[in-house]
Point group: C3
Chain length 311, copies 3
């Protein structure tokens, strides 16, 4: 594995999930692997879980960590050939080459604009760093993908599943703000690989990128879709077709205890209580959200370990 | 000791002061205690001394430290049952449970609003984290308390006192801005436990919370109150009755060399020169403010050590 | 060496360059030197290279590092005798003494105002900390100097030079914004010591501080100045006489492949592509900018090592 920018092949994810489970069992067993190695974490956007869990993961492998909120430094140019006489102070060509020299792995968070669809889909920022960096890149959530989250989610389902082929449903849920597609995208790609019966439901008009959903079954009927589900993953995303718009806040799509029935509830956090789901779900025994967040550490640790050993 | 949120019982503070003195003598003697342990420091407000000294304290015990300026991440909901469709992105229920999983101790700084008295007195934020966290909480200054500062202050008095019962006076001093009551509150609670002759003086109308001052003598006459003092602790606070108002900036309450006479001068810093006290005091031999700041490290180290061993 | 605030004597820089070369060869050879020692880095301004490379340097010597963006804490008073009843919350006298107690070395970044020439030239901020600190101070770029950059630059020239006395030219280049004189100043002082044939060229009116340029040859004719150069160091600076003004953005001063001829290209980064120099230079084999940035780590490491051992 050269980088961890998107969901890798099934063989790799299977190995990462297994590695994450082993690390969760004994988080400090590989302290020697990262000795005298350094992870740099660049944040173009705010982070709580990703920042804390990834730092912890790296240090549990014996690494040093440097964290830079790049937005408080200066803005970076990504276009080739531009005459940089405006606000952009540094080109990604220099930034990526320079920062690579100060570390062994470079992790980057950079949300989408949600206004320029073509640019967001091109993953200009993270691909710019990938092209010019001389060290492996970890995606800590980019314009279209959040593969560390999806790895933690797959690990959680593996831990909690009592069936050989559990039914997993990704359902859209309402939210007052326009949110990215990254978590949904990466969860879909991950579930398409996993031994699960996977489907998606969302209001009409909330179709995700067809290059990602592919032939995964899609329903506009939440009630029907959730029937018999073992795991319900709730997530809001803004419209993909009317790119970045909030065209629907229909509260009837909120997940309730009643709707969930026997299913376990999943969400990547942060979660809007009584908007995405009700208090009773989050405070009840069927919620896996805290466990998912905990698994972020071991997902990141498995990825970092793999990149240290085999990139 | 389960948490360090307010001044603990006398027996505990006595033991913490003794431990802090031992650690000051040999700061690296307990490097093994924090091995593979992590402190997370959450800042809802700015910090200089607390941030630097607490990080140093934890690392001198062998811990890893993660620091998050939470204000630059997102705002947190503390009300039960709220429908989170406005600005608050995450509920303390999730935040506290999640962050607990990434660390062994969680330290929090969150100043009061100074506008909503009831809310400030309820310590909603730090109590919200305490209720939902699964690890010990350290108060790095909350709405009504700053117990790490008070521990450093008690340590300083113990180091510098030549009497069995020194006279200690907490005096209000002028300041252009509305300041919290936390430092004064915690110093009062601490002094009420210590072997000192303790009194408070402030202008009429600047009474602190009577649940804290209890039967400690209070004077409106600074000159009389300071007579024969061994330690004078200067501190501004805004009005408690006219909550958060600055109703008095009377510069005659500034501490001068003449007023201090034989007393040693204490303040928690940062200090406004020639407003709280004059240059001659801070630049003279009677000032203990630099020593107090130094003792912040060992106070924090004693608290963290105790929580690592006995929480 | 007591501090590293400006370019030290030739003997010291020679020793530092040698030490940096050794450390580059084996960066972890001196992990024991910084054990249980702490570097505090205070940033009054944004930083990318300096922050990442200096943290890396300190940790490669086994030190702990604390980083504080002081601008997000509060503003500091530097004037003696002031009555601090306005915005400044803490005097440098307290700040420097207090922070010194939390570390073994204090590194500071503080850019010039570019509006108050006298104040900038007085280096009030870094000298204020130097006066009141009890630990060595490292300048991470101040109002008038950037000696860590100059040390990395001298190291780069030493690594790349094939002649006993290479020709080195510092040339002004255009930029849309008003930039400090610090990098140019420190590079000049460093080159005046080194075994190089050194000259400066810039448009008329862009003379630097004559106390720094001294008898170094200065030309207004870039083409003539660059003739036969082995190393061309490009840098923009704002006017020193019309202090802090941008009186010239003449793009004919941009460095091109043609102008550079056989010379290797140097710049401290960040660099405005197609403003300071063209893409062909930065993407070509004559550019040393990435190597210069890499050498920042070893320059800082040599300085920190020297201060730990001999301050």
């Amino acid at each position: 594995m050269k980088n961890y920018i998107d969901i890798p092949d099934k063989e790799v994810t299977t190995s990462l999930i297994k590695s994450a489970m082993n690390l969760k069992n004994d988080p400090f067993k590989d302290l020697a692997i990262g000795k005298n190695k350094r992870l740099i974490m660049l944040f173009f956007n705010a982070s709580l879980r990703t920042r804390l869990s990834t730092q912890q993961a790296a240090e549990q492998l014996g690494m040093h960590v440097s964290i830079l909120n790049i937005s408080t430094a200066w803005s970076i140019e990504f276009e080739d050939g531009s005459i940089m006489n405006l606000e952009k102070a540094e080109h990604v060509k220099e930034a990526a080459q320079v920062i690579s020299q100060y570390c062994d792995i470079l992790a980057i968070r950079a949300f989408p604009s949600l206004t320029d669809k073509e640019k967001d889909l091109s993953e200009q920022l993270i691909n710019g760093f990938k092209t010019h960096a001389s060290v492996p890149i970890i995606n800590m959530e980019s314009a279209t993908a959040h593969p560390l989250q999806a790895l933690a989610d797959a690990l959680t389902i593996k831990e909690m599943s009592t069936k050989s082929t559990p039914k997993v449903v990704l359902t859209w849920a309402p939210h007052p703000k326009a949110l990215p597609h990254s978590v949904a995208n990466s969860f879909i790609k991950m579930m398409q690989q996993q031994p699960v019966d996977f489907s998606i439901c969302h209001p009409e008009g909330y179709e995700l990128d067809p290059n990602i959903t592919k032939n995964t079954p899609i329903s506009y009927n939440q009630e029907a879709a959730l029937q018999g589900a073992d795991f319900v993953y709730a997530k809001n995303w803004s419209s993909f077709n009317q790119y970045g718009q909030v065209t629907n806040q229909d509260s009837s799509w909120m997940l309730t205890e009643q709707k969930l029935d026997q299913a376990q509830f999943m969400h990547c956090l942060p979660i809007r209580r009584n908007v995405i789901t009700e208090d009773a779900v989050l405070d009840g025994k069927k919620s896996l959200v805290i466990q998912q967040a905990n698994n972020r550490t071991y997902a990141a640790q498995a990825v970092i370990k793999e990149l240290l050993l085999n990139s």
